[in-house]
Subunit: 372 residues, 2 copies
């Protein structure tokens, strides 16, 4: 008999893989796990195309879609435009960023805030509508309680809705709001994260929601032994992200892959310098620039910080890939502390296989730890 | 057959319990675990008395001693006196602390730096000598590489020496220095801690030292399911501290116990406001006062900060226990994020029993998670 979570999602192994790259999503799903496409950065048309490609690859096997829809910002019925938001950016920030770039031999962009960021652009509602013509088997919201339209779309179409939480209090709220799956994500996770670690958060969330919905553990999990640890604590499976960034399929820039392979777990920082909310990423001169305590600027609130940061980061990434030293010192990328255990580029299918083997070995190790 | 770690230490269950309270140490040892007395706050005479009491209680069962000896500060053969150190305390700090206290209706102590702190007072060498007439079965050093005299005393007397580490690089150094046991302690731990979480640090350390010595997992572990998680990841057992603070035997002040029972995992902070090095403790107006980014003062380096902080904290604790509201807002205590799972006062023996049951249940849960 399969575990309940595997029955529910039609999978062999409860390893959920978040990736912005469709190839990773398809490879994990085809290997018996569950791929989840990060869809926020796409236009609705692009998303439709990505999902069509996945549909062709997976032959009916299950996969999901992850969006970042902050309910507090988009939930009120009014659509805030990028230019409304741009007007809220304090003047001194432009000069500050120009200074940071100049110190790294990079010219400031004359119109740095023209393009909205993903958080300030397309709404989640439009992306969700584009996804509904595809056989998605999970809708995940990575930031706060999902907006009502997302929960309603899930219920209307029989698609479970998942929410990522960084505190047990948030898990309780999410369950009350009607989500079907909780991803308890510790502070070691890449991207937006809270302060509580996976080792404490997972049992705390499981205790707090008392079996109302399944719980996946996230944060720092890049090996099967860590996934087994989470299941030993009562989780139904694992939600992973960082580990796919160094797979052969990932579209991670070669320069960034090298940074990941070289990084230790202490090379990440929980910084608001990219989106305005604390998000774990590689330490760099950019994250240093947003440490007010050490002479940096205070980050703007979400989504303003991403409006000022993302266009700069995109240029920096491009220059870094070309070998520009100043840009290489500034370049950063969302990744969790598990980066310290990511030391080799592998095919995604191979990562799934290693997860399973390592999970089995960990299970045997724990069983053998008992006195006869 | 017992697991190797149990054979090595003569115990039934590889649960190591750090406590400043001899009753907890004896209770855990008598229940089949391994109690470790935190000895740093004692004089050599007091320590001798405490260990004699434990010897009477445990009837030959094994226990250990934990000291905090920063090698960088004490390793050079010269003995720095408290008054040498007091001269290094900047003048403005006296006024700042007086202001913080005044804002909480507490008068400043006219001679706040007269008494040295535990870190600046008795040396580890004197304490270790006092302990050597007792049958201790482990010497642990909680801060950095143990000084040579500690490793030599361990080797000369056949007593394993353990070191707490918060980074894999430190583990490698400790093994090279000759320690016999590594405690890999995640950032969620109470007291001094690094930035890497238990979920990432434990597999990282195990990989880095490659079986050279056994590894105990620490940080956030207050239940048997978390201990099982650590063992699934390859740890040989668990090192715990916070969970004993709310046992019946602990000498924790009743007011502090109530704070612990009420606290969630998000009520702790990694603050240098007490010792000068980041140490996890309950958030309070005192920890707020040492957040330079939010209008507080920058903490002094170790051991100066503990020289200014400990006498104040002692007075604050006394007043808080008497119901003084300002003191209650200032009061803090070292504890890990696991405090969120500590919700009931229990006898220490009962905590050990629950650890074992929960560990067994977690092992069964993990085994049953595999498809048939």
């Amino acid at each position: 008999m399969k575990p309940a979570i595997c029955e529910k999602f039609g999978i062999d192994f409860p390893l959920f893989a978040f990736s912005h790259c469709r190839d990773v999503v398809a490879a994990v799903t085809n290997a018996g796990g569950f791929g989840v496409l990060g869809g926020t950065a796409f236009t609705p048309e692009q998303l439709d195309k990505e999902l069509s490609w996945i549909d062709e690859q997976v032959g009916g096997k299950p996969y999901g879609l992850d969006l970042i829809v902050p309910a507090t910002y988009e939930g009120k019925g009014e659509k805030i435009t990028s230019s409304d938001l741009a007007a809220r950016i304090p003047d001194d920030v432009r000069g500050y960023i120009a200074d940071v770039l100049a110190a790294h031999d990079i010219e400031a962009d004359p119109k740095p805030f023209a393009g909205g960021s993903s958080l300030a652009g397309t709404t989640g509602r439009e992306l969700l509508e584009a996804a509904m013509s595809h056989p998605i088997k999970l809708i995940a919201n990575a930031l706060g309680v999902p907006p009502d339209y997302m929960i309603e779309a899930g219920k209307a179409n029989g698609i479970p809705v998942a929410a990522l939480v960084g505190a047990k209090e948030h898990a309780v709220k999410q369950v009350a709001a009607g989500v079907d799956l909780i991803v308890a994500q510790g502070t070691e996770a890449g991207g937006h994260c809270g302060e509580v670690t996976t080792m404490v958060l997972v049992p705390e969330v499981i205790e707090a929601i008392d079996g109302a919905v399944p719980v996946l553990a996230a944060g720092g999990i890049v090996t099967g032994r860590q996934m087994a640890a989470a299941v030993a604590m009562g989780a139904d499976g694992a939600w992973t992200g960082s580990v796919w960034l160094t797979t052969e399929e990932a579209e991670t820039a070669p320069y960034t892959v090298q940074k990941f392979l070289a990084a230790s777990s202490r090379d990440t920082i929980r910084s608001a310098g990219r989106t305005g909310k604390p998000a774990r990423q590689l330490k760099s001169d950019w994250t240093d620039a947003w440490l007010p305590n050490d002479g940096g600027h205070k980050p703007l609130p979400l989504p303003l910080q991403s409006m000022v940061a993302e266009p700069v980061i995109r240029r920096v990434d491009m220059l870094a890939a070309q070998g520009h030293q100043g840009a290489q010192a500034l370049a950063t990328y969302f990744v969790g502390q598990g980066v310290g255990l990511m030391n080799k580029v592998k095919p995604a299918r191979e990562v799934v296989r290693e997860f399973i083997e390592d999970y089995l070995a960990a299970t045997e190790r724990l069983s053998n730890s008992l006195p006869d």
